[in-house]
């Protein structure tokens, strides 16, 4: 008979937190299924394999380099002095997580969460760039994202960086706050998706010569909607664990976080369904699925700091943003985003960041005061647009110059499955006549 050592309260708290962290890969699974379902059948296996590769490469690159740049509050970091204040801009940990004891400490549990959440963030650009992004380019771009882009911004928000210290240094509320990763995971991933769609250009046949977009429907709505349900479970873990580890939230707020997460997603999906139903006669399944994810994303930042009514309001606005931003991107900017990652993650992520400043009520345990919180959130948005977007665009532009990221035109028309994998996802079926004729 094996005797277990007696668990201390901190061990039990760490174990519970780890259980929440273990739900996070379901968010990645949900996003991967959505990306596959929203693409064409001829690229389904390629998209799913790319999702697996992204999850693996992101974890490895984060372990080797990213963890050294991100770290956890209270750990060694580099600071520069501006205006008499210390600006903590990057962590100073050794590579390979060698400076961290992987025990039940909050830093170790946070490292476990980050290994998964960097994969979720890295999956977001796949939704926008699918069906024309080469597998090898995907792996290299993901490595750069997980080793540098994600950890740098996540350090500023979650690692005790300068954005988190805006409250104590400059009296801007409690500093930039984001419990579940609306900025560090979703907005960063969504802006990278935007940069990639600009660099890669639209899929062949998406836009006619007069720039009118052609409808290229997803091949499996069931996968998309099932993916939505999986994302909910992943988000419950992500928001709860993120709030406990990075936002100083007490365990007694977990029920409120779960309720807010679900209500935000539900309100957003219903709003999108009502808007599309009113405008097009029938609700649009793919847009409603994007509305669901948009609601989850928008609610991530504020889930621990708002009452349920505010969570519903945040979701309603997110759900309304989805169809209009999809139209803006397709009709006015000729941006081809098959998975809807830019509206759902970038635009709703930015809305979620601002919503925390508008609706948030904060516990007295947080350092700083309540006034100026919206300004701190606004500076976070300014950093995303003015620093993260140019940086991620520049890095991917450079990668594209060294190793072209876009598949050749004939390979793209043949389908990424045959072009890059040599076999279809559905070899025994011709699922769409459109697929058949265009080959």
């Amino acid at each position: 008979m094996t005797a277990f050592s007696v668990a201390t309260p901190s061990d039990l708290a760490a174990a519970f937190c780890l259980l929440l962290v273990f739900l996070v890969p379901l968010a990645a699974a949900g996003l991967a299924l959505m990306n596959v379902g929203l693409g064409r059948g001829r690229s389904a296996a390629h998209t799913m394999l790319a999702a697996l590769c992204i999850f693996a490469v992101a974890a490895l690159a984060y372990l080797v380099f990213g963890s050294a740049w991100q770290s956890f509050p209270g750990r060694p970091a580099h600071s520069i002095y501006l205006g008499g204040k210390a600006w903590n801009w990057i962590a100073a940990e050794p590579f390979f997580m060698r400076g961290l004891r992987l025990d039940n400490s909050p830093a170790a549990v946070a490292a476990c969460l980050q290994i998964f959440s960097v994969g979720v963030a890295a999956l977001i650009p796949l939704g926008s760039a699918a069906e024309r992004w080469r597998l090898r380019a995907i792996c290299i771009s993901t490595a750069v994202f997980a080793a540098w882009t994600y950890p740098l911004f996540a350090h500023w928000v979650w690692g005790g960086g300068w954005l988190a210290q805006l409250g104590t240094n400059y009296g801007l509320g409690h500093g930039f706050l984001d419990a579940g990763g609306a900025s560090s995971i979703h907005a960063v991933g969504g802006l990278t998706a935007l940069a990639l769609t600009w660099i890669l250009g639209p899929r062949s046949g998406k836009f006619h010569a007069d720039r009118v977009p052609a409808a290229i429907p997803g091949h499996n709505a069931v996968l998309v909607l099932f993916g939505c349900l999986l994302t909910l479970i992943g988000w419950l873990g992500l928001n709860s664990a993120g709030a406990l580890l990075f936002a100083g939230v007490e365990f007694n707020r977990l029920a409120a976080i779960a309720i807010n997460t679900f209500l935000g997603a539900g309100a957003a999906a219903l709003t999108t369904a009502i808007i599309t139903g009113t405008r097009f006669g029938k609700p649009d399944a793919s847009l409603t699925a994007n509305g669901w994810v948009g609601g989850l994303v928008a609610g991530s930042a504020a889930c621990a700091f708002v009452p349920p009514a505010a969570a519903i309001m945040i979701g309603v606005v997110a759900g309304a943003l989805i169809p209009f931003s999809v139209e803006l991107l397709e009709l006015h900017m000729t941006t081809d985003d098959p998975g809807g990652a830019i509206p759902a993650h970038a635009i709703c992520g930015i809305w979620g960041i601002l919503a925390l400043g508008i609706f948030g009520h904060f516990p007295s345990s947080l350092p700083g005061s309540d006034s100026g919180q919206l300004l701190a959130q606004l500076l976070g948005v300014a950093t995303l647009l003015g620093f993260v977007l140019p940086m991620t665009y520049g890095l991917n532009w450079l990668l594209n110059r060294i190793l072209p990221q876009r598949a050749p035109r004939d390979g793209e028309q043949q389908g990424m499955d045959l072009c890059e994998l040599g076999a279809d996802a559905y070899p025994e079926f011709v699922t769409h006549t459109e697929d058949f004729w265009s080959r």
Binding site: R211, M333, L378
Partner: protein
Amino acid sequence: MKFAGFLLLLAGWAIALTAIILLRAAVPRNAFLLAGVATECAGVVLFARSHIGWGGEKE
């Protein structure tokens, strides 16, 4: 146009950061922060417009 958009994005961030560092009074600080974000929005629009019609394919 792409380069101008790129510069506007960076300039907007610089304006927002400088407002936080240099200005103490609430009204000018908030005004400059908003001006920085507005500059970035103009940068995003220019950057996006520079990609309209780009096919992405290298023949």
